[in-house]
């Protein structure tokens, strides 16, 4: 489903943010990416939907090459949902408008149809009563659930999450993780950057550990936590699993 081969990314000539990263994510899998801050996790995620123009290597999504100039990148992105650490809801729009914008403008859906779908998604993430509210009237956990609903409204084949719970108060983390766990169980293909090791252990098919732009180690949940192969991984786990 997602084929990352030998991808390198420089932000400027001196600074290599990704160094020959390769990874294959199959349909229906959930892969968790972890690693210290600045290790290139967000950059890698952005390469997958072409938000970052990596200079070397290839990424294929469903067989379509992301950097190929013949690829309709907008169409490709429409198939890939993305959720951010700070929610990134559009502040001047209601929850409903946030969710229906892309379906109406990109997919050219009729308003009624888009709104119906949006309501169903709001039910699913547990806050249908907030449809007419503005983002700033919601709690962090609610905002993130709206952001997930907004991404799902495009009926994506893949969901990318960039530290979706890092900006949340502890009591709101669970409500967001529950939605994500549900998605994984339904067979959504997901790439999740997170330090929620409980989620990684129970939900992820595979865990990828990155450091300084490289993939240091990858393993199944159990292997990764119980038999980390590299010293770096061990140090990282020690710090995070206090």
């Amino acid at each position: 489903m997602i084929d990352i081969a030998e991808v390198s990314l420089w932000y400027d000539r001196a600074h290599k943010a990704l160094d020959r990263v390769s990874e294959t994510i199959r349909r229906g899998q959930t892969v968790v990416i972890c690693g210290p801050s600045g290790s290139g996790k967000s950059s890698l995620l952005r390469c997958i939907n072409g938000l970052e123009a990596f200079q070397e290597g290839t990424i294929r999504v469903d067989g379509v090459s992301v950097r190929d100039p013949r690829t309709d990148i907008h169409r490709l992105r429409a198939e890939i949902g993305m959720v951010f650490q700070h929610f990134e809801l559009y502040p001047h729009m209601t929850v409903m408008q946030n969710i229906t914008l892309a379906p109406m403008r990109v997919r050219k859906k009729a308003r009624a149809e888009a709104e119906q779908k949006a309501m169903a998604l709001l039910e699913r993430v547990g806050i249908p009563e907030k449809a007419a509210r503005y983002p700033e009237e919601l709690s962090g956990g609610q905002k993130q659930r709206v952001a997930i609903a907004r991404a799902l409204a495009m009926e994506p084949k893949i969901m990318l999450f960039d530290e979706p719970t890092s900006a949340l108060d502890p009591e709101m983390i669970k409500e967001v993780l529950d939605v994500m766990t549900g998605l994984a169980q339904e067979g959504m293909t997901m790439v999740v950057v997170t330090h929620e090791m409980g989620f990684a252990r129970t939900v992820a098919d595979r865990i990828v550990f990155m450091s300084e732009g490289r993939v240091v180690e990858t393993g199944t949940g159990r292997d990764f936590f119980e038999r980390p192969q590299h010293e770096r991984t061990r140090q990282f786990l020690d710090r995070i699993l206090l």
Partner: protein, 242 residues
């Protein structure tokens, strides 16, 4: 009434032919600054958006424009558009200009004021765009929208709200700077006040009247912008504690 041996005669403000001249001057000031503002806003948006683009030469072009127009005196720019710019045209176009545009001074004024104010507007636009977190742009692009759609539906509606107060200031400056158009012979209200003085020796009354006109119009603009700000205020955001 007489002070310092000066006899006030306020009737120059409405007496024929001076009253008519003043009204015409006020009207000229109004449409001169409004037209210049339209130019400034349009050009300023384009240049401001250019200044935050990833493509280096686009950014450079925007930066060059701003530096040139912001760092030379407006008066010199006014002279440039009036005296020098026509000389840069081919001979037959120059002739056409002199034959067909008798009020070239007016259009030079619009152009000069518009181009100069655009450089200031561009800086406000740039600051507004930079105050939006990069992930907000990414969230919009990730949903599959085109660059135009991203700006049209997500970035501009929010950025314009942030920019409203500084743009109000720029508009007021544009309006007041229109007085300098008198130096190239445009009969706007300041020039008219001065002109009437040369016949009547009652410049004190006419310049007072001109000042009052500027003040009234400026206050109207401020009131209008305050109303607009209130109307477009985002629920839960901005203007908190007012």
């Amino acid at each position: 009434m007489e002070i310092f041996h000066y006899t006030f005669d306020w009737s120059v403000l409405w007496r024929s032919p001076y009253g008519g001249m003043l009204v015409k001057g006020i009207v000229t000031t109004l449409h001169l600054s409004l037209l210049a503002w339209v130019v400034a806003l349009t050009l300023g948006m384009v240049v401001g958006v250019a200044r935050v683009q990833p493509l280096r030469w686009v950014r450079f072009a925007g930066g060059a424009y701003v530096q040139v127009f912001r760092n030379t005196p407006f008066l010199v720019q006014l002279f440039f558009w009036y005296f020098a710019a026509p000389l840069l045209l081919p001979k037959q176009d120059q002739q056409w200009l002199y034959d067909n545009v008798p009020d070239y001074a007016y259009w030079a004024g619009v152009l000069a004021l518009g181009a100069y104010t655009a450089s200031r507007v561009a800086e406000q636009v740039r600051a507004g765009l930079l105050s939006i977190p990069p992930d907000q742009y990414r969230a919009a692009y990730a949903s599959g929208m085109t660059g135009f759609q991203v700006y049209r539906y997500v970035i501009a509606p929010f950025a314009l709200r942030i920019m409203l107060p500084p743009l109000t200031t720029e508009f007021l400056t544009c309006f007041k700077n229109s007085a300098l158009a008198m130096t190239i012979g445009v009969m706007e209200v300041t020039h008219t006040a001065y002109y009437i003085d040369s016949f009547t020796w009652h410049g004190l009354e006419t310049t007072s009247a001109a000042s009052a006109v500027y003040l009234c119009i400026a206050l109207c603009i401020i009131g209008l912008m305050a109303l607009t700000e209130k109307r477009v205020r985002i629920v839960g955001m901005m203007g908190r504690g007012r």
